[in-house]
Amino acid sequence: MFRPLLALLRRDLTLALRRPQDALTVVGFFVVVVALFPLGIGPDPEFLRSLAPGVLWVAALLAVMLSLERLFSDDYRDGTLEQMLLVPEPLGLLVLTKIFAHWLITGLPLVLISPLLAVQLNLRPDEILILMAALLLGTPILSLIGAIGAALTLGLRGGGVLIALLILPLYAPPLILGAGAVDAVMHGASAQAHLSLLGAMMVFALFATPWATAAAVRIMLD
């Protein structure tokens, strides 16, 4: 039963490797947006530090957003998505596999590059660790929720903007919890509550969103 899922995962990763520019644009966008902030608001290290959690999280949201449009649209355009409906596996699991591949290609690189940018914004090592933990729990949520928007806008003109309008409001909870976790450590409190809630949210999204996304894909392909 896992063979088809592995085949799909390998396919998506191979495609990403053959076209590395897609993944690199997302990371590049993240880096540039975060790097622009000190230029705009001045070099005061303490002020930058207090803004850092919010800046990093909003930049990560926007970077993931940027990559969402392509999650299903390529497969939709060349007809492979249609063939996927005929694969003898639950569509929800196939969708989940695609989302996992999407996270490996876009979300994980953001987590890995975030320490560099955090140093630039003057975060301390223990805060950077919490930032990475929060992003590690949070970026999968972004991919999972975003997939619903990507599926609902399949084949629509101007789908990218529509995804942003549909999905950005839903990104508020992970943003609040993720940035809040780093904020808490900054002010000497524990980040455990924030991280636990973020983890709970990820588990919930993991179970609920693939089925919603699968239903949306079926409707859009009907």
Binding site: L6, R11, R18, D78, G79, E82, L86, V87, P88, D222
Partner: protein, 207 residues
């Protein structure tokens, strides 16, 4: 190969507000072929998408044996293969990779030798290692056909399979279709060309 009948009962479809067709009934037994014909825009593709469970009909139901097509054990895809207008190939992957991955997705353990032999029989020897992007329209269609023919499905639903194919490949495809019927498979096909296939052929005129 197939041990069940494939039935359509009182199918109807609409596009926009326009009724495309009404009350389509047929029964296909193992070893039979159904050729759907009709003018452009009379709903051939819509009918084929309904038959393959991709779209829902406005009225009626499609049955695989006694089960509705959407709730067949093991999924719709376990009993039928569908080739639509789109080739469903990944441009960045080679022909061989495309077919192997599709085989893996279908749950099989695809055999590399069989893939190469099938590609060669469709006149694509020497093109296996080329990204599909560099192939011509006709060659892409042939890769899509090779993928379909390598999946052991009882029912094949082919939408304009002859489009963009040259005469030699049409012959290869015809013998593949005849072989499939001989193995007690079933085929639903739309085409604008006359097909002279040896076997139990039935016709359905739309519009």
């Amino acid at each position: 190969m197939a041990d069940r009948e494939f039935r359509a009962v009182a199918l109807a479809a609409e596009r926009g507000d326009r009724r495309l067709f009404d009350d389509i009934d047929f029964t296909l037994s193992p070893g039979q072929l159904l050729q759907v014909s009709g003018r452009n825009g009379c709903g051939k593709t819509s009918l084929l998408r309904i038959l393959s469970g991709l779209s829902r009909p406005v009225a009626g139901q499609v049955y695989w044996g006694d089960e509705p097509i959407q709730s067949v054990d093991g999924g719709t895809g376990s009993c039928l293969g569908y080739l639509g207008h789109q080739n469903a190939l990944k441009e960045d992957l080679t022909a061989e990779e495309n077919i192997l991955i599709a085989g893996g997705l279908g749950g099989g353990r695809p055999d590399r030798e069989a893939v190469l032999a099938m590609l060669a029989s469709l006149g694509l020897a020497g093109y296996e290692d080329l990204p599909v992007r560099y192939l011509s329209q006709g060659q892409k269609r042939r890769v899509a056909l090779a993928r379909l023919l390598l999946q052991p499905r009882a029912l094949l639903i082919l939408d304009e399979p002859y489009a963009a194919l040259d005469v030699q490949v049409i012959d290869v495809l015809r013998s593949a279709i005849e072989a499939h019927l001989e193995r007690k498979g079933m085929i639903v096909i739309t085409t604008h060309q006359a097909v002279d296939i040896d076997g139990d052929c039935h016709k359905l005129q739309l519009g």
